[in-house]
Symmetry: C2
Subunit: 211 residues, 2 copies
Amino acid sequence: MTPLKHIAESTVRRLSAYLRFLEDFEAQGHQTISSGELAAQGGTTSAQVRKDLSFFGSFGKRGLGYSVHALATSLRTILGLGREWRVIIVGAGKIGAALAQYRGFRERGFTVVGVYDVDATRLGRALDGNVVRDQTELEDDIHRLKPEMALLAVPAEAAQPLVDRLAKAGIRAILNFAPTPLVAPANVTVRSVNMALELEILSYALVNEKE
Amino acid sequence: MTPLKHIAESTVRRLSAYLRFLEDFEAQGHQTISSGELAAQGGTTSAQVRKDLSFFGSFGKRGLGYSVHALATSLRTILGLGREWRVIIVGAGKIGAALAQYRGFRERGFTVVGVYDVDATRLGRALDGNVVRDQTELEDDIHRLKPEMALLAVPAEAAQPLVDRLAKAGIRAILNFAPTPLVAPANVTVRSVNMALELEILSYALVNEKE
DNA sequence: AAGTGTGAATGCGTTCACAGCA
DNA sequence: TGCTGTGAACGCATTCACACTT
């Protein structure tokens, strides 16, 4: 079940999508599913589904398809979702606060264990189960609560120094919402979500394509 | 300046990144820049920068580099950012409200001209310049205000019907935050931002890669 | 000398096509 | 027969290498 080689991000994305659909499908009482049915969902092809899975092993039965339950379990193991992940949120502005209260994270096994800010006027504010704490507590709290991931929702200028601090304190995965490129040590994975950039890609599409 | 063929999304993403940096660089008073300097910023290569630009024309001077100002202007034209885009936000929950107040959009030329929800308790709430309106007003408002884009920040079940309504009302670009796959007519571009999925990719990275 | 612009080579993800098993 | 699993073919994005320009 462990891949021999590096797996493309596009493959990991699709595996997540398959898992989501398998969970729905299982809730509907289905026992078995074919690569074609799985593909139709996410707008891909049956060959793509089989290839994606083949990197990790053989999960199906020829002529029959896949056990919905067993495949979902395997995908959870592959993706590391058989457990709870603890995340902290750095930055309690509009975006940070919205993320702290986002239901979708808990539903997928991500628990927010701390929210931090520099701004004194934001400290103490309750966001679901968390109270906004001062960012000076970051290092102590990371050692105490041992979160695995951090969400960065701070202004662009503040992002890089925080990445350095988080990396030093032992965080190994960061999801960045600040619109700026970041560098991190090799053992820290940083992903960025840039919402204005997504709109710019839509802008390009409106101006250039599909006419 | 118009591309002969289809341009890869990865190229468009990088063009946006180049433009951001060029604007900073220009603000610092620089007149000229080389592909290598531009590349160092976004963590790419000088060859990549030159190739990306080459799809749209020749913007540099051999032996010299690019005029910062002229290249920024060209990129804005290519990306369709020489203008203001009007966007509406559908869904005024935590995420929708945060998006409605996000500074980064206005800074990049995206103006929120309307915010909508179904929930009566949210109607009338002021979010920066906008008041949350009832979703039944959507069609009338689209015809009146002529927004080009919509941000969808509603629960997964509500997303697809809204895509259908928005498409029918004339919206041709949608940025979706609901964690569900969507289908739309060919003349409507839909992009999705799925925050739980981003965390799942980080989960995969922690469990599998970089050890 | 410095740095662009671009055809050619490479590498990689997707699609194809079919052998193999239930 | 039906559908999986996978090597081979394909197509596309990235990288290379160098001719060309200032």
